[in-house]
Symmetry: C3
Amino acid sequence: MSLFPQILDFIGTFAFAISGIRLASAKRFDWFGAYVVGFVTAIGGGTIRDVLLGVTPGWMTNPIYLICTALALGWVILFGKYLIHLNNTFFIFDSIGLALFTVVGVSKTLSLGYPFWVAIIMGSITGAAGGVIRDVFINEIPLIFRKEIYAVACVLGGIVYTVCHYWGVPELYCQLSGGLTVFVARILAVKYNICLPILNDKSEKHP
Amino acid sequence: MSLFPQILDFIGTFAFAISGIRLASAKRFDWFGAYVVGFVTAIGGGTIRDVLLGVTPGWMTNPIYLICTALALGWVILFGKYLIHLNNTFFIFDSIGLALFTVVGVSKTLSLGYPFWVAIIMGSITGAAGGVIRDVFINEIPLIFRKEIYAVACVLGGIVYTVCHYWGVPELYCQLSGGLTVFVARILAVKYNICLPILNDKSEKHP
Amino acid sequence: MSLFPQILDFIGTFAFAISGIRLASAKRFDWFGAYVVGFVTAIGGGTIRDVLLGVTPGWMTNPIYLICTALALGWVILFGKYLIHLNNTFFIFDSIGLALFTVVGVSKTLSLGYPFWVAIIMGSITGAAGGVIRDVFINEIPLIFRKEIYAVACVLGGIVYTVCHYWGVPELYCQLSGGLTVFVARILAVKYNICLPILNDKSEKHP
């Protein structure tokens, strides 16, 4: 990776780790638990993708994700009570992370020769599955299933990316279009409170 | 795969997806969340099996499972309120799916040269693990651990299959005997309300 | 494996399976559910490690873990009400299991050529991840994130192991030092009630 994507990757990892650490702290996890939840939020999606694709997960070849999560933990420990004023900043960072992770997932899957629908799914898993594991660990129903356009932004970005790819658009522009789609879809969805319809079937209850 | 198993596979996937989508809707998931839960219910078991066996999951080579889940979602959205009258039909479809998924899991594992006990476990994972992930996602204790003969039917079917296999019975008859065992065990268990004993040890509580 | 580590492995597996089965029984799981939870507690950590490392999980090549879990289930069914008097014994067994599983994880990862930080993580996953899956299955927040020095003992043992390894200490002594560190850290932490600080950030709640 060249420098600019690396910086974005660092920002995304940091933002994802912060989101995991803060939700863990609301459940009174200890420092170790918060670190693990932060780390898994950041690398969980990419790890599931790489296991499914049959390649070695990225965090096993580069310690930057461990270090980045440690910095995020230190940040929350030191500045936790001020973080609430930075929610908008973190929302932007988080959306950058979501866009970048999605693009990385789509790109890696296409480069391994998988069909476009697998690439879209892998992009969405890279962006959104870390948050699902986070929510399972803190014993909540995963947020992305009930609220907010989140994974759907990944799906849209993945579609834009793969359409550009099949039109023969140079890879860099595919990545930019895909990433921008994720970012803009997420920002617009939150700004205008766009939700998907709730599926309400009263006929079945979990016994 | 020839046509008849493909139709069974489609029916099983559809029934499993429906079960995931309906439980998701009882928790007020949005359409995207319901789709993901339905998809994971349908392909989760086979995916865990394939990751453990070190092969590429089937849904990454054939989009039929994605399409089938989309049809299941459309069905629930359009006809959700009538589904309650079809519970018996879905129970039959679900049992067909369970039988077929188990047979596919045992067969694939044996053909890769693993010993019989691995094949029985993989058959049970293929049949039952999707429902476990579904229940984790909707934040419930997995149903198969507390109620109903479900995974146990898979285990029985897997035993029948592998015993036939080691007796030299032709593969097709192994599959038929194994699948029928799963199907009949499940039907009988529900009809006669057969349960395993509850393990009740009052000595330990989760703190 | 030679005889002595095999006996330790058996003891560790038995103790981990007992812990899963007892927590499952407190939630009124049936025998099958309790068996599955016990088995996953015992082999879950090693399985995640092996999937991440891209090798076949150990329990797929040796049925001893299945048999050992069956013995643990029989033990709880027959002697469940007396187990409460044996809590100290099981605590020792469980700590032996934790130490041994950690050492196996570190050793296997280093022998595959991964860097030291991956080995420490894999050691901790081998020791602690089975308990995380157990707690997800019984629908509780994983214990190791909130209480007790548990996974942290694995991390300490992994650090001692890899430091010895890079100093050129013979492998057997690396393993002994690493394992003893895990064991002693766990015993001391429980005896003197040593905990990590809780991270308490009131600024964010899961919606």
